[in-house]
């Protein structure tokens, strides 16, 4: 998506994502597993910052300046060290093995190359580092999967794929998936994974 599209998306994002209230308890539970230095991919408008546990050291990236401008306001309310960085999830500007935890929240559905992003996340995570994902994926139920495939035909125009096999992508990137919790059916999932200690 070009920058104009992201500007419009940033304006509509909070309206469309007011489901934050419904999903907040599950996000708080997941984000509560953050440890050490944390990378948050991608910040969006910062709607998730309110669910972060206090006192963490977090670097939140996003490619869109429009999103980051909105996130900046919310970052001031965070009770910890939260820095916003303009960066591409597929080309993270951090050294190898920098972070103890990486977190994504409805991110992998919107990336043009989620496999590349997961490779980068793996690179910047320390061995044994945690990957926490709050993502929506394609349902394994044939009817719901077909509905999501149909929805993707028009959501793709706004930059979101509703039918990704995100768990498969995370496993293929070499992460050990430790726990998967259902937030909404088998579509919105809360996932905890680890980068193996041995390469």
């Amino acid at each position: 998506m070009n920058s104009t599209a992201w500007e419009w998306r940033a304006r509509l994002y909070d309206f469309c994502e007011a489901s934050a209230i419904r999903r907040a308890p599950a996000k708080r539970r997941l984000f509560g597993a953050m440890r050490g230095e944390v990378l948050f991919v991608a910040a969006g408008t910062g709607g998730d910052f309110a669910c972060f546990p206090p006192g963490m050291a977090i670097r939140a990236i996003d490619l869109s300046e429009a999103m980051l401008r909105r996130a900046q306001r919310r970052s001031r309310n965070y009770a910890g060290d939260l820095a916003l960085v303009k960066a591409d999830a597929g080309l993270l500007p951090f050294a190898d093995e920098t972070f103890d935890t990486a977190v994504t929240s409805c991110t992998l559905c919107s990336l043009p190359d989620p496999a590349r992003a997961l490779e980068e996340i793996r690179r910047v995570l320390k061995p044994g580092g945690r990957l926490l994902l709050f993502e929506h994926v394609r349902s394994r139920n044939p009817l719901l999967g077909a509905v999501l495939d149909l929805m993707t035909v028009w959501t793709r125009r706004t930059g979101t794929e509703m039918n990704r096999d995100t768990l498969g992508a995370v496993a293929a990137a070499g992460f050990d998936i430790r726990r998967v919790e259902s937030v909404y059916l088998d579509i919105i999932l809360s996932v905890r994974a680890r980068k193996p200690r041995i390469a």
Partner: protein, 132 residues
């Protein structure tokens, strides 16, 4: 309390989408078009209304939580009217509303059961690449 309110909202949305879907299909049947055309027109109209209702309720109930189940409702409810008419059950508006309400509540129950199945399946076993 919060969860109960969201669930009530989910059920209400499904009842609304199903009832409107049923009424739309019922209305299109009155035009006495060829069957396939009626089906397509009815389902198309139901899905258009469903999309608008889901978008309107997304800020309260969640985007995916409204779009997905209401899409199923919009597909199923017009088909139920077609089946009813094929079985020679002549429906008026009142019967359609009743059918829509029953379908909406029924689909809400099915989704609740499926949600419980998903939660248990994921809790019970480590991820093995599929929820069967």
């Amino acid at each position: 309390m919060g969860k109960a309110l969201f669930r009530a909202g989910d059920c209400l949305l499904l009842v609304l989408v199903s009832s409107i879907g049923v009424l739309l299909m019922h209305g299109i049947h009155m035009l006495e078009w060829p069957f396939v055309l009626e089906m397509l027109a009815g389902m198309g109209a139901a899905m258009l209304v469903q999309m608008l209702l889901a978008l309107a309720s997304a800020p309260l109930l969640g985007s995916i939580e409204t779009m997905v189940p209401s899409s199923v409702a919009a597909m199923v409810s017009p088909m139920a009217v077609c089946l009813a008419h094929m079985a020679d059950w002549r429906t008026g508006s009142r019967e359609c509303l009743l059918l829509g309400t029953v379908l909406g509540i029924g689909m809400f129950a099915v989704f609740e059961v499926y949600a419980s199945v998903c939660r248990r399946a994921l809790r019970r076993s480590p991820w093995r690449g599929a929820i069967k």
